[in-house]
Amino acid sequence: MADRRLFNLAIKDIEKNPEQLKAVYEKGHCTVLAGPGSGKTKTLTVAMARALLEDVKDPRGIACITYNNECAIELSSRLSKLGIESSGRVFIGTVHSFALTQVIFPYARCTMPEISKDIRVATATECREAVEKAHKIVFNVNEDPHDRWKFAEFKRRRDVDRSQRVWRDQNADLADFIEAYEKELRKKELIDFDDMPILALHIIRDNEWVRNSLRAKFPILFVDEYQDLGYSLHELVLLLCFKVGVRLFAVGDPDQSIYAFTGADPMLLESITDRPDVQKIPLRFNYRCGKSIIEASMAALGAERDYCSPDDAEDGVIDFHGIDGDLDLQAEYIFSKLLPYIQNTGVQLEKIAILYKWAKHGEEVVAKAKEFGILFVRSDTNALIKRNSKISRFIEACANWVSGGWKQADPPFRRLAFDAIALVFGQSSSDKEKLQIQSELIYFLKSTIGTSMSTHQWLSSFRQEVLNDWRKRSRTISEDWDSIDIMIKRTDPTKGDDKDLPLAHFGGRIEGTGRLNLSTLHSSKGREFDAVILFGMNYDIIPNGFERRNEAQFKESRRLFYV
């Protein structure tokens, strides 16, 4: 499990920061309020390692809930460097995967016989159909059912505890709509993503023994990015941590709450932090930004926080470039003037990012980058490798291994095999099944080392020789296998949106000639670059007219810019 020696090394790193140290050695409930660049992931991972070494003895373990798969993957690889691997004892994943693998899968059959064993996650089309049917049953009026569903969806995410009066007292018609929708799904033995935490909450709330079992298995619950997780996670924390005594270690920053549209609310973290039985530990040091940038960010946020930067930090520079004209002109300016200027100061391409508010703005930048022949990597919903898809990330890691990673075991094959097994079989598989996955994987990967396959060729043969078969055998119900097809289509040299590229580029194994980073503001959260170009920061874009008129939305825009 956790490695004492690696832990001691990691502790040395944070010795000078008393706040981080305090968080790592905290033994009661605590919330760690961590501003940007405050070393929050480090604090979290070292605290987890200490818990496994000192507080939690085998066979009990710890759970860490993160905002999305990308965070989970990032956290797993950081933990792996401390000797901690995901296992039956250590859960790292999203609230959805916690709900599915730790609550619904083991306990739904004992507590909710109506949830059948063969239940599966609905596709987007199936969800839309259910919305339309439910709309017809409940309203039967001529309007777009999906417009109304947006409101229902919000209510569904917000009023997660349906035993509360508010469920029926406010917008009873939406409650009917939601219930009818869920009934339609159940008829086809389907659940959707929002169902997962809701069902799990019901099971946990109604069954003391389930709460006790979760406490027995995971006496400590770590939550990362608390401010981005919605009401269902919050309710779950209230039940597990303040009802049956699971210890809470929450990390978050209300100022970085930018996912209101998925039901997040910075108030939730604040309400936990304000509890008298919770220790509040603010991390004040910002290791990422210079002084002037911290000051500017406070101005953007419209609030003053007590952040400071280390004494030896540079001040940082902020330049404003006003361009009259449309977004295309802005993009033109960036690639013709700004980018060469920054590169001339010695910053490498892979250390530079262009950020924009929506993925659609990314299209402008992408078009221009292609025009200028600049290599780039995109990390938003239109990215070739979806940061948030476990399968995409797994395939990326395999490409990395094949195009040279195998020499230094970085990534180690052991980890690829572990991920593959988890993708196909989830938490539970026999030794024989594991062995088979492992040997199929190594057989394919080994045979493609040193070949001159392009990404498109490699992906196609990976799919044909291995992945198609895994997909058929798969027992997991929530994996996004379609992303393979999308990647193959997009790298098709004849019709794809992205051009085919060498496998080493795809796998991220490129030296010297890096790629420019393109990202939405949302996806850029928590990432670090030497230089950042904000694109399209126009009066009518951030915040836009709608956001200006709404106080909460306006604040959210401030936070988004701040992030």
Partner: protein, 600 residues
């Protein structure tokens, strides 16, 4: 409450066609040789024993229950071995919850089930031809996709102490010695300097030893011969000494001694060696638990009676069983020793019986609850001499000493030797048959109850109410519940109906009391008086017997019964049988004997 293995199901495995048995925290498996006691333990190992390699889990076709018509193509089902172990009462222990919570049953979350199946591979068409066509699976929660991770098998485990015949060997070799982990742990706590100090002392002792002229000579001699044989380069620098002087190897020479260190364990009697081994093994398990290597250990001890004196058997296993499920540890013993059976709490008994074409069946009393006074009654009865009840093929329950003496005589007259038929006559000393009847029913022992009608002044009879209560009790243990209301009324009101039904349940009634029945059995009186007269009773009783012989009409049957109760039973039956020729036993006794002889 501590976790326990509360239920075992075995299907199509070796002796077992189908077995479904409840277990208490400690278990003692009783059965004749070859009935499948070891196979029962092996079934548990297939699921739990982490030391069992996968190659051993891949069973052979010959492991499938013989009775299964395997090659009979008319059999629609392919043979499948299934073993299911249910654990309960783990919800008080967080470690055990963490291990087992994923394997709770859909229908009852208080039960965690671990299973093993061995069956034809999915892809094999038609009937399987060889072992290669089979595969095994180990899984939990009654769901084959929930495989059991190795952590569970490492932490909830089964340790088997085979028939304790290898005590000496086990203690002798370092690798297998249960002393090893214990010593390694203790030694690790000794400061290095202190170890080196001891090493120096030993070195000094070695030097002094080899300082003796004769020893020195021997050492040189040996070394020289070795060098001659292998050449200079092969000199292995042999030395004579008490033990290695390497501080880290030193402790391997530590042994258990007996008689205050005067003699080695190999000089101990087998019995003492076995006690030492058992103690060490238990200490090892305890240590593993303490070191958080395990959370629950099932200790299976096969036939512990081997080489243990009966007195020791009772003592040792009595002590072990008192520690009921303590420290996350449960015992499973197999035995055919009445000594061990006699100290076993009844709840712990699992009886294995060969039931011919149905294979071996298992019966347990774990689910049966007794009133405390009934339990004491039963335990008093089942002391060493009578634990044979558990091994018998049938029981005749009687009220008192006289019946106990006479029933074998009657049986002999009907042509049955109860002893050689393994049928026990059980004297319950009164009319409290109920706990005995429940016990026999639960163990599926063929039985009969011989009891008096005991008429009352009001025309009813004590035997009447007694029979109804017995019928109810038997039905409840059989899982049939009470009879229908109409039938209960009929049982209470219709004597003929009651007697007929009672017979079906193995309850045999006379019309009055045994005394009157004997008095009415004329052919018995004279031989009886003759044998009693030979018993050297005292003057007064002998005189009375003489008077009775002269005039049968003055016999006081109550007194006669008492006298029969005084005699030594076994011999009495032999003697009487010689004297009695054309005896007709009372009809109800005859029927009772025949019922048990013909297996109910």
């Amino acid at each position: 409450m501590h976790m326990l293995l509360s239920r075992v199901q075995i299907k199509n495995f070796r002796n077992f066609a189908y077995v479904d048995v409840s277990l208490s925290p400690n278990v003692i498996i009783i059965g004749e040789n070859r009935v499948g006691k070891s196979n029962f333990i092996y079934a548990l190992r297939l699921v739990l024993d982490s030391s069992l390699p996968d190659s051993a889990r891949q069973l052979k076709i010959s492991d499938i229950w013989d009775g299964h018509s395997f090659h009979n193509s008319s059999d629609p089902e392919d043979p499948e071995i299934e073993i299911h172990l249910d654990f309960t009462d783990f919800d008080d222990d967080d470690n055990l919850i963490a291990l087992l919570t994923d394997y709770r049953l859909a229908e009852d979350h208080n039960i965690a089930r671990l299973s093993y199946v061995f069956r034809k591979k999915e892809e094999v068409e038609g009937h399987p031809a060889s072992e290669a066509d089979f595969e095994f699976k180990v899984f939990g929660g009654g769901d084959e996709t929930r495989s059991i991770n190795s952590q569970v098998r490492r932490r909830v485990c089964l340790d088997v102490l085979h028939a304790l015949r290898d005590a000496e060997n086990d203690l002798g070799t370092w690798r297998n010695s249960p002393l090893r982990p214990l010593l390694e742990d203790s030694i690790s706590q000794i400061p290095k300097e202190d170890l080196h100090y001891v090493a120096r002392l030993i070195n000094d002792a070695n030097i002094q030893l080899t300082a003796f002229e004769s020893i020195k000579k021997l050492e040189d001699n040996l070394r020289q011969q070795m060098t001659e044989l292998g050449g200079e380069t092969q000199d292995i620098k042999s030395k004579l000494g008490f033990t290695s002087t390497d501080p880290l190897r030193l402790f391997r020479a530590i042994r258990v001694f007996i008689d205050d260190g005067k003699r080695g364990i190999n000089e101990a009697s087998l019995g003492s060696a076995n006690i030492a081994l058992l103690t060490l093994k238990l200490a090892e398990f305890g240590w593993r638990q303490e070191k958080n290597e395990r959370n629950f250990t099932l200790v299976a001890v096969e036939e512990p009676e081997a080489h243990l004196h009966p007195h020791l058997q009772r003592k040792i296993f009595g002590n072990l069983f008192e520690k009921n499920g303590e420290n996350g540890r449960s015992f499973i013993l197999t035995t055919h020793s009445p000594n061990i059976a006699s100290i076993t709490p009844l709840k712990a008994v699992i009886l294995l019986k060969d039931e011919g074409e149905n294979g071996t069946k298992a019966y347990s009393l774990a689910k049966l609850s007794f009133r405390i006074e009934d339990l004491e009654d039963l335990h008093r009865y089942l002391n060493t001499t009578r634990a044979e009840l558990l091994f018998s093929r049938g029981v005749i329950f009687v009220e008192g000493d006289a019946e106990e003496a006479l029933v074998p005589v009657f049986a002999r007259n009907l042509g049955y030797d109860l002893d050689s038929l393994c049928i026990t006559v059980c004297n319950v000393g009164g009319t409290n048959f109920k706990p005995y009847a429940r016990l026999a029913t639960a163990l599926n022992l063929p039985f009969a109850i011989i009891t008096d009608w005991d008429p009352r002044e009001d025309g009813k009879a004590y035997g009447w109410a007694r029979s109804i209560q017995l019928i109810f009790a038997i039905r409840i243990v059989q899982g049939r519940g009470l009879p229908k209301k109409d039938n209960i009324i009929k049982l209470r009101e219709d004597e003929r109906y009651l007697r007929a039904i009672a017979k079906q349940y193995g309850i045999f009634l006379n019309d009055d009391t045994l005394e009157t029945e004997i008095a009415n059995t004329r052919s018995l009186i004279d031989p009886l008086l003759k044998v009693l007269a030979e018993q050297n009773f005292g003057q007064k009783l002998t005189e009375r017997l003489n008077e009775w012989s002269e005039d049968n009409s003055i016999i006081d049957s109550a007194q006669l019964m008492l006298m029969i109760g005084y005699v030594k039973k076994g011999r009495f039956a032999d003697l009487l049988a010689k004297e009695v020729t054309e005896l007709t036993p009372p009809e109800y006794i005859k029927l009772a004997i025949e019922r048990v002889v013909n297996n109910g």
